[in-house]
Symmetry: C2
Subunit: 238 residues, 2 copies
Amino acid sequence: MTDHTVKSYDRDLEALGRRISEMGGVAEKMLSEAMEALSNLDVELAKRVVSSDPRLDALQREVEEAAIMTIARRQPLAIDLRECIAAIRISGDIERIGDLAKNIAKRTLKIATEARLPRAIVGLKSMHEIAATQLKDALDAYAERDVERARAVWENDADLDALEDSVFRDLLTFMMEDPRNISFCTHLLFCSKNLERIGDHTTNISETIVYLVTGEAMPMERPKLRPAGFAGEGEAAQ
Amino acid sequence: MTDHTVKSYDRDLEALGRRISEMGGVAEKMLSEAMEALSNLDVELAKRVVSSDPRLDALQREVEEAAIMTIARRQPLAIDLRECIAAIRISGDIERIGDLAKNIAKRTLKIATEARLPRAIVGLKSMHEIAATQLKDALDAYAERDVERARAVWENDADLDALEDSVFRDLLTFMMEDPRNISFCTHLLFCSKNLERIGDHTTNISETIVYLVTGEAMPMERPKLRPAGFAGEGEAAQ
C-alpha cells in the first residue's frame, strides 16, 4: 500500500471506532433511562427510550456497511481485517443491548397502570448496577484495546447470572404470596431476563476484544456457577 | 476477473450456500425436537437438543469467516457482495434460532419434575406450528432466491405475535387459578417468548433475502396488529 492508501485506511478504521463509541454511548443511556423509567414507572421517559432505538439500528447498519466496504476496497490482512470483523460483531452486540433496554422500557409502559410492588424491583436494580458497570468496562476495554479488562468482564458475568437466579426465585415467591402480583411480577421476570441477556452481549463484546487484540478465540464455555446444560436460558443460570 | 477466478469465486459462493443450508437443517431439527421434548417432558431428547447447539455455533463462525475471506480476496461488487453479506446475516439469525430452541430444551429440563398442566402447552404447540412453517418457508425462499415467498413470511409474522399475546393471557390465567401452576407456567411463558423471537429471526431472514435479490432494504416497521411502542418485547405484541 502507498502512504496515501495507508492514511486513508487508518481514517476508515478511526471512523468505525468513532461510530462504535457513539453506539456505546446511546446504549448506555438507553439502559440507565430504561431502568429509571421502570423504577419510577415513568411513562414519558420509557417512551423516550423506545424512540432512541431506531438511531442505534441505523448506526449499526452504517458500521456494518462501512466495515464491509473497507474489507472489499482495502483487502486488509491480519490485525486490520480483525478490526473490521470486530467492528461488525461489536456493533451487532451493542444494537442488541439497545433492543433489550427498549424492551424494559416497553414493559414499563405495560405495567405503569398496574398494582405496584416496589420491593419486587430491588433485585432488578442490583442487576442493573452490575450490567451497567460491565457494559462500561467492556466499552472502555474496546476503546483501549485492553485485553485484561475484557477478560475481567468475561469472568464477572457469572455474578449477573447468579443474581438473576435469585431475582427469579424472589419474583416467583411474590406471585405465590398474592395472585394480584402475578401480572406485574411476570413483566419484571422478563425485565430481569433482559438484563441477564445484556450481560451476555457484554460478554460477547469482551470475547471480540480478546480476538481483536490476540487473534485468538475465547473458549466456548463461559464461567458458570452450576453444571452446564441445566441452567436457564442462554448462557445464564436461572 | 479471469474465467478461472470467476469459477473459483462461484465455488466460494456455492460452499457458503451449502453451509447455510446445513445450518437451516440443524436449526429446524432442534426446534421440532425441542418442542417434542417439551410436550412429552422428555429429558433425554431435551439433552440431545442442547448438545446440538455447538455444531450450529461452529457452522456460523465458519460461514462468517468464509464470507469475509471471500470479500477480502475477491473484492466482489453489487450482487456478489450482497451474497456474502446475506450469508453473514442469515447464518447469524439461524444460529440465534438454534439458541432459542436450545433454551426451550433447557426449560424442559427444569420443569420435567414439576406438576404438569398439559392444557398449558396447547397454545405453545400452535405457536410452534406457525414458527416451523415460517422457518421452512424462509429457508426455501433463500435457497430459491424467491422474493415473493420471503415477503409472505415477513407479513405472516404478525400471526405469531397475535398468538403469543393470547398464550400470554392464558398462562397468566392458569397461574391465577392455582398458585401451584406458577412455576411451571412461568417457564412456559419464556418458551412462548422464545418461539415468538424465533419468528423475529425468521422475519430477519426474509428481510435479508429481499435485500439480497433486490438490493433494497425492507421498511424498518414490521406489520403489527396494534400501535407500535406499546407492544411487549422485541417487535412482538404481548
